[in-house]
């Protein structure tokens, strides 16, 4: 089975976000970059499919050179091969631009299953997976928490929770699946894994390999423009509920919820 995992590099969840002068970008200087946590689920699931069906796992990452590190992490977890798509002309692409660049590379590969994260925890868009699937003309199933590929490797059943219920969606392969928490527990890279990763193939692609219209990608290809980034709206200062005993505090909170907030 040929499996591809798309991995995005994002700021670590602990990162303090500082807005750059001009208000259109964030300051990236002191950021610790990590693999999007949802993509770890993708790598793990890909490895499990490979363990069951044989084949190989290719990870594809688009972004600056630093993305190599996240690709290496996936290789150290057990993926076989990495592809870094990196070109200054691609920097600042929006989701659609990124999907186009990924599609132009993935089109040339063999695949049965592609994994993407349900969303990048940077801009929280969650568009690239679906756009990529559409560009490749394959079905997608999003927000998987369980998947079962049929023994003949021609179809897959995916458990996909929606509000109040879980749908079991059946799709033909090749398919793109987006991941979320609950799918699996991603493994850590072992020390031998890290050593081996250094010798695994890592290919680099630039604009000239993609055959893309340069106007479709990068800042000028953006269809969604970020006009201004601001800090989150300030919340009015809260109050600490007073009372001598837990009992008194509870009564006072109930009163506030009723009289002031009018919520109960």
């Amino acid at each position: 089975m040929k499996i591809i995992v798309c991995i995005k590099q994002v700021p670590d969840t602990e990162t303090q976000i500082k807005i750059a002068p001009g208000g259109e970008k964030i300051v990236t200087d002191d950021i610790k970059w990590v693999m999007n946590p949802y993509d770890e689920f993708g790598v793990e699931e890909a490895l499990r499919l490979k363990e069951k069906f044989g084949g190989d796992v290719t990870v594809v990452g688009l972004g600056p050179k630093r993305v190599t590190e996240s690709i290496r992490t996936a290789l150290a977890m057990g993926a076989d091969k990495g592809i870094l798509i990196s070109d200054s002309a691609l920097e600042g692409s929006d989701s659609l631009g990124a999907a186009k660049a990924l599609a132009s590379v993935i089109k040339g590969l063999q695949f049965d299953v592609i994994f993407a994260g349900q969303r990048g925890i940077d801009e929280d868009q969650g568009l690239v997976g679906a756009c990529l699937a559409d560009l490749l003309g394959i079905p997608q199933v999003s927000l998987a928490v369980k998947l079962e590929v049929a023994a003949d490797a021609k179809s897959v059943k995916v458990n996909r929770p929606v509000e109040g219920q879980t749908l079991v969606v059946e799709a033909q392969l090749p398919v793109l699946i987006t991941t979320q928490k609950g799918l699996n527990e991603p493994r850590y890279a072992s020390l031998p894994g890290i050593m081996k990763a250094k010798k695994k193939p890592l290919e680099e692609k630039t604009m000239k390999d993609l055959g893309l219209d340069p106007a479709a990608v990068g800042p000028n290809g953006r269809k969604l423009k970020i006009l201004k980034i601001t800090p989150p709206p300030a919340r009015a200062a809260g109050k600490i509920v007073q009372g001598e005993t837990p009992q008194e505090k509870a009564v006072e909170l109930a009163r506030l919820l009723h009289e002031e907030a009018k919520l109960i």
């Binding site: 990162t15 946590p37 969650g126 199933v141 109040g164 269809k223 989150p232 919340r235 837990p246």
Partner: protein
């Protein structure tokens, strides 16, 4: 030129979901600002009658795409249908819901139409005739104001529970039209093989008006009973922090936060939750936040509208009793 606002509603088992009314109401406000018509789009099987009520929430026109194959949402069929409709009519604004279904649907549709798309927005506006959307980014650590560049329809999804619903006006009427589309079975590559209902039977967290969440401070799965009792009295759903989920005390679907659900209830009560940045990411757009924590320094108090410093095992049962007199 692209013209008109479309609010794409959502139904399940033939019933319009709450997000549908939120979208039509917000669509009405945007259509008024633009001075254009609002079309409510209903996709399903035998939905025509139910769809009529959307007139009361401000739809000028109700477009119904009706087909037995559309009774249950599948990405293939829905994107195919709405893609055809949007290409044929070229709406200026296409508003959808950031529900589980809406996120999947809108993302693929944006790819199909090759347009820009703003996911999970908390506010909209019109500026110089163009749609402006406000959306939390970096888990709510910043907010982005975004607009579209020569990209029609201007596509965006609205975070559930954020857009206020207009009071229904039974004096309003709308033109109901049948959507024209073709569906080719060969193109439908996914199907829903089974549906498993959640055991809890509670309103999903993303749709709940009130949420009571517990964290590591709950000390064990059995103690969530205290929260469930309180939640039952005020009509809330019960959520959890990742610590509580990772400990196996609560199912994954209950996790609120950056790697869980993003919720926007009117009331969020955090019990024994410290307020880690990743947790705040999932609940900071709640309208009113209450924190109950024994550590007065816990970061959750910086976000709380009402904070109670104390032992939740004393406070919550007392609160359950205290609210009863108002219910």
């Amino acid at each position: 030129m692209a013209q008109g606002v479309w609010a794409v509603t959502e139904q399940r088992d033939g019933n319009l979901r709450k997000i549908s009314y939120e979208l039509v109401s917000e669509g009405r406000r945007l259509a008024d600002k633009l001075g254009q018509k609002l079309t409510a789009v209903v996709i399903g099987s035998s939905m025509k009658e139910k769809a009529q009520e959307l007139a009361q929430y401000g739809a000028d026109r109700i477009m119904v795409a009706d087909d037995p194959r559309l009774g249950q949402y599948t990405t293939d069929a829905y994107v195919e249908v709405l893609g055809q409709l949007a290409k044929a009519e070229e709406p200026s604004v296409l508003l959808m819901g950031a529900s589980v279904q809406g996120k999947d649907f809108s993302a693929r549709l944006a790819g199909r139409l090759g347009v820009g798309m703003a996911q999970d927005c908390t506010a909209f506006d019109i500026e110089n005739g163009g749609l402006i959307a406000i959306r939390p980014i970096y888990a709510g650590k910043a907010y982005a104001r975004v607009g579209f560049e020569n990209s029609f329809p201007q596509m965006a999804t609205a975070r559930p529970n954020v857009m206020s619903v207009l009071a229904p006006d039974s004096g309003r009427s709308a033109e109901v039209v049948d959507a024209k589309f073709t569906l080719n079975d060969a193109e439908l590559k996914t199907k829903v093989a089974d549906t498993i209902q959640d055991a809890s039977g509670k309103v999903d967290l993303t749709e709940a008006d009130k949420i009571v969440s517990g964290g590591r401070g709950m000390k064990g799965p059995e103690n969530f009973k205290i929260l469930e009792d309180f939640a039952a009295v005020i009509g809330a759903s019960v959520g959890a922090s990742r610590s509580a989920v990772d400990a196996g005390w609560r199912p994954h679907r209950d996790q609120v936060g950056q790697t869980g659900k993003v919720v926007s209830p009117s009331l969020y009560v955090a019990c024994g939750i410290s307020g880690a940045i990743q947790h705040l990411a999932g609940m900071s757009t709640s309208k009113l936040i209450v924190a109950i924590n024994k550590d007065a320094e816990a970061p959750i108090f910086q976000k709380a509208d009402y904070g109670v410093v104390g032992d939740l095992f004393d406070i919550v049962p007392a609160l359950t009793e205290a609210v009863k007199k108002y219910m």
